[in-house]
């Protein structure tokens, strides 16, 4: 079909993700969506800040948080952001294999992050009996960090679906914007984590 031809040109343009109107729309739409997500997380942060000392006699942030694990998690997620940048760099070079490789590494790092987070929650629940229902602080903590974790899960599913779907057919102008918008979303998750690291863990450790 003429369609496939127009989406699979002889040479890929410099910015394949923005070469079509659909691509531009996707790109811009995701930016707007992230604007909304910013308000979502801002609201969650506001709620957390209002309730972070409302422990109702239960465990407080100073009792709970260990910075070592959180530091490792931060490094994992920051690195995954970097590897997704490499992937996009390879996309612009029209090197599909390398792009998939870097995205694969991104996915692995994301999964490692999630594993740490699950361990962290498990640890709090079993060692400290600190749950979602223990106090307003507990509810706020698990909601904020959990929402971020949920975003990571969604991002990973998105990434894996993309990689599997396109594994055999390579890069074209139809799927390039999809990869690109994923990487934007992944960066956003990373930025939110930096704020969580600062507001929840560092400030929580100071008390």
């Amino acid at each position: 079909m003429s369609q496939d031809h127009s989406l699979n040109p002889e040479t890929m343009p410099q910015e394949p993700e923005k070469a079509t109107l659909e691509g531009k729309n996707k790109f811009l739409g995701l930016w707007f969506f992230l604007g909304g997500e910013t308000v979502l997380f801002a609201s969650l942060f506001g709620t957390y800040l209002a309730l972070r000392n409302s422990t109702a006699g239960g465990p407080a942030s100073t009792d709970l948080f260990g910075l070592e694990l959180v530091f490792v998690m931060t490094m994992l997620l920051l690195t995954s952001s970097l590897t997704s940048v490499y992937a996009m760099y390879q996309m612009k070079n029209n090197n599909f294999k390398k792009m998939q490789l870097w995205l694969g590494i991104t996915a692995l790092l994301g999964m490692a992050f999630l594993a740490c987070e699950i361990y962290e929650f498990y640890h709090y629940i079993h060692e400290y009996e600190f749950t979602f229902r223990s106090s307003a602080f507990g509810s706020a903590f698990y909601t904020l960090v959990g929402f971020h974790g949920g975003h990571v899960v969604f991002g990973l599913s998105w990434l894996i679906a993309l990689m599997v779907r396109n594994a055999k057919r390579g890069l074209n102008l139809y799927n390039a914007p999809k990869y690109y918008t994923f990487s934007l979303y992944w960066h956003f998750i990373d930025v939110v984590w930096v704020f969580i690291f600062t507001v929840v863990y560092l400030m929580g450790k100071v008390g």
Binding site: M1, Q3, L7, L21, K24, N25, L28, G29, F32, F33, G35, G36, E37, V39, L40, S43, L44, G46, T47, A50, L51, S54, T55, A56, F132, R133, S134, S135, A136, F137, G138, S139, A140, T143, W158, A161, L162, R165, Y174, K178
Partner: protein
């Protein structure tokens, strides 16, 4: 494809067509139909409220049912009537005004509608399943946490689902306006209705997530034992109020700004004059939207935030009067020196100016924090926001419907019936709400199931009820007008009003690809320019060629249905863990739809040049 053509293929084919459509004009009709239905439902609820308040210590409704009635009236009117009706008009007209063939995300456009509809239906299912929500449309915690039964759960899930739909709609409009304007359609040449659609979408984008979070917190507390609003576990109920109003105040502008856009277009058209102070109008819109985010705590003057916060929010609120005043005077100046035609669309517009001015002024009065200690949560506030929302938004929707009906449906609404319904509704409106300003200060708080005998409130309430019935009759006549018009109405030409903007340059109703050739825009009021200075019709920006159109899809409908099922699961898993299955099934359906959507390629289809040539202009 017109409705008539679809009917030839049989009724089921037409239904399937609408279930799967991604055409912005058909989605607009769906929004109007669903929004109109909910508007009638909300109106009925309003009449029940007014019957209960016809005399002191009346027992037409029980106390519990009354609270359900006020909650559902407010929630329905705001989320399920006013907003969808406006989204319908935006969908129908905005792409035409910028010379686009469709919106940026036709699939998401359809998804937005079906999410809204399933959310609204879910919310209203509560009537038949043990009682509607009864904590007010503001659903303040801890009353909403404590409320027995599942009413508030329906509120949470219903609004969450329909809110997601609205957010998607907002993003879609934003991208459409940024990337899909026709050549020459610069930002400062866009009609005011397109501008207000744009600014409204920004408001939706930044306001709705706050509601989303608020609803999640409420949901976690009610359904999963969290402690956000549980004081004994350190919770804080004021958080809900902040989140609700961070959303809720911009919401007011989400409603009124599109109405401002409608009025701007109508006034300019029927005065045969360019909009006076176009640039100022655009910046006033942006300024109102910006300030709209800075004033939420004026709903909370009595919460005890302290004098500093109250003073700051009082001043910020008063500041909104300035850009709003600019708009009022610019509209008057547009009419000044014009040649004014008064028909139904213009009648609603002309009625809006004094009515909304009153509503705006009582808004400034409410902004005065210490005065608000008296007004707050009384009928004064009820009067104020009905002056703004009925006198502004509903008048705007009705004006817009009269104005754009010919474009959307190809027939002109009957003028006589239009005028009768206008006068009944207009008189009824002022009768209902003007007196309520006084009732409030005479000591009648809002949301009162009964008012007591011998408190001087009898006459005012009786008058108010009489007015409400006039409004009801007026609304009914409007519905009759729609039915009459669709059977016997006068056929509309492409440009029945001697219009100025691009939508009047194409047939009524427009073909499904809108513009055979993308138009070239040479200035503000492009059609008017071509009529007065050009050839009388729009110059195309491209030679006739193939037109690319998006594929229809049933996925948005199924996906929304999945969330609908999951909604029931969330609500009832509190009673029995078996309902968790409904959550998994529902979310599963939605996820599978998403997966299909992302794995399958959608390339759309082409209308070929030859077919286009065969069709007459």
């Amino acid at each position: 494809m017109s409705i008539a053509a679809a009917q030839k293929k049989g009724f089921m084919a037409a239904v399937w067509d609408y279930l799967t459509t991604v055409d912005h004009k058909k989605i607009a009709k769906l929004y109007l139909f669903a929004g109109g239905f909910f508007f009638l439902l909300g109106g009925l609820e309003a009449l029940f409220i007014r019957i209960q308040l016809i005399s002191p210590e009346n027992d037409f409704l029980t106390a519990g049912l009354y609270n359900e009635m006020i909650t559902m009236h407010g929630t329905t009117m705001i989320f399920l009537a006013a907003m969808p009706l406006l989204l319908g008009l935006m969908n129908a007209i905005m792409p035409l005004q910028i010379g686009a063939r469709d919106v940026a995300f036709p699939f998401l456009n359809s998804l937005g509608f079906w999410l809204f509809l399933f959310g609204g239906v879910l919310l209203n299912c509560s009537w038949f399943l043990g009682g509607a929500p009864d904590a007010g449309w503001t659903s303040y915690a801890p009353l909403s946490i404590q409320s027995p039964g599942h009413g508030v759960d329906f509120y949470i899930m219903g609004l969450q689902i329909s809110g997601a739909g609205t957010l998607i709609g907002g993003i879609n409009f934003l991208v459409t306006i940024v990337t899909m304007r026709a050549p020459g359609m610069t930002y400062m040449r866009m009609p005011l209705f397109t501008w207000t659609t744009f600014v409204t979408s920004v408001l939706i984008l930044f306001a709705f997530p706050a509601l989303t979070v608020g609803l999640f917190l409420l949901m976690f507390d009610r359904m999963f034992g969290a402690a956000f609003f549980d004081v004994t576990l350190g919770g804080n109920s004021v958080i809900w109020q902040h989140l609700f109003w961070i959303f809720g105040h911009p919401e007011v502008y989400i409603l009124i700004l599109p109405a401002f856009g409608i009025f701007s277009d109508i006034i300019s058209t029927f005065s045969k004059k360019r909009l006076f102070g176009y640039t100022a109008m655009v910046f006033a819109t942006i300024l109102i939207a910006f300030l709209g985010f800075m004033v939420w705590a004026h709903h909370m003057f009595t919460v005890g935030l302290g004098p500093v916060a109250n003073a700051i929010f009082a001043i910020a609120t008063m500041a909104i009067a300035v850009p709003t005043g600019i708009k009022i005077f610019n509209w008057l100046a547009t009419m000044w020196g014009g040649s004014i035609t008064i028909n139904s669309a213009m009648l609603w517009t002309l009625a809006f100016i004094p009515s909304f001015t009153i509503g705006g002024m009582t808004g400034v009065m409410l902004a005065s924090a210490v005065a608000d200690y008296q007004y707050h949560d009384t009928y004064f506030v009820v009067a104020h926001f009905h002056y703004v929302i009925v006198g502004g938004v509903v008048f705007g929707i009705l004006a817009g419907l009269h104005y754009w009906w010919p474009k959307m449906f190809g027939r002109i609404l009957n003028e006589t019936l239009g005028k009768i319904s206008f006068w009944l509704f207009f008189i009824g409106f002022h009768l209902t709400f003007f007196i309520q300003h006084f009732l409030g200060l005479m000591g009648m708080p809002r949301r009162y199931w009964v008012f007591l005998e011998d408190q001087g409130l009898d006459n005012g309430n009786l008058i108010s009820t009489i007015g409400a019935f006039l409004m009801g009759i007026g609304g009914l006549i409007f519905v009759i007008n729609i039915i009459y018009t669709s059977v016997k109405g006068e056929k509309a030409s492409a440009d029945p009003w001697d219009g100025r903007s691009l939508e009047w340059a194409i047939p009524s109703p427009p073909p499904f690809y809108n513009f055979k050739q993308t138009p070239l825009i040479r200035g503000l009021d492009p059609l008017w320019i071509e009529k007065t200075e050009g050839k009388g019709k729009i110059t195309p920006a491209e030679p006739l060629g193939d037109i690319h159109m998006p594929d229809a899809s049933i996925l948005p409908f199924i996906m929304s249905f999945g969330f609908f099922v999951a909604g029931f699961g969330f609500i009832y898993q509190v009673d029995h863990s078996g309902w968790l299955a409904a959550i998994f099934i529902g979310i599963g359906i939605a996820l599978i739809c998403m997966l299909i959507r992302s794995l399958k390629d959608y390339h759309g289809f082409h209308i070929h040049k030859e077919d286009l040539e065969r069709e007459a202009d």
